[in-house]
């Protein structure tokens, strides 16, 4: 399991691919589920020019690890990766990538969904959006579906 908080742009698919090559045992995983959250250029009907992601250093990593360990205890997974961006972000840039490797697809799908929902519910990150006429804190996340 790897947990990372990054303050610079990353390529989520290249990161997943690299992690897989370096850490996963060849031929053992049959299922890889990946989720990427990206910055949209609109929210709640307004154009968003930029976003600043604040976090609580230390607690953020603790909770990402805790969530990863919970997923590993609930599902039969081989490995997982979470990378989350902080700092200034522009539209279309990735914010988060979550990847889960498992022997079977059910475990991979469900664990990746769990990681994302728990991350959004419990990991201490906060988004502030820059609009054309000022900025605002995002008050709450969208529900799961």
């Amino acid at each position: 399991m790897r947990i990372e908080v990054r303050d610079n742009l990353f390529d989520p698919f290249a990161e997943v691919s690299r992690y897989q090559q370096q850490h996963l045992p060849a031929g053992k995983y049959g299922a890889t589920a990946v989720f990427v959250g990206s910055m949209r250029d609109f929210n709640q009907g307004d154009a968003v020019q930029q976003m600043t992601l604040e976090h609580y250093p230390g607690m953020t990593e603790n909770y990402l690890r805790k969530i990863g360990e919970e997923a590993a205890s609930r599902w039969d997974i081989i490995d997982s990766l979470i990378i989350h961006r902080v700092g200034e972000i522009r539209p279309d840039e990735p914010i988060v990538v979550v990847a889960v490797w498992s022997a079977h697809r059910g475990d991979a799908f469900e664990a990746s969904r769990y990681l994302m929902e728990e991350l959004k519910a419990r990991a201490p990150f906060w988004k502030k959006e820059t609009l054309h006429n000022g900025s605002r804190w995002v008050e709450k996340n969208t529900p799961a579906s």
Partner: protein, 77 residues
């Protein structure tokens, strides 16, 4: 030692500071930490609280050396 108090995001802006220190005798619970650190500002209803980087409620005790944090609902991902 002291109690380190942190505020994040909109609460940091609202309280006007990101970090203050209290003497341990000033507060025995998270609720008392808030009152002391904010000069009795009202706490927004949806405020989240952590002691030593774990979520707690306002009644949670605090002791010398603790790190206490207050922040709004999280919006990562």
């Amino acid at each position: 030692m002291t109690i380190a108090v942190k505020f994040f995001a909109s609460l940091r802006e609202q309280v006007g500071t990101g970090e203050v220190e209290l003497m341990p005798e000033q507060a025995r619970s998270v609720a008392e930490v808030w009152s002391q650190a904010t000069a009795d500002q009202p706490m927004p209803a949806n405020t989240l609280m952590a002691v030593n980087m774990d979520y707690v409620d306002a009644a949670h005790p605090v002791t010398d050396g603790d790190e206490v944090a207050f922040f709004p609902p999280v919006t990562g991902g």
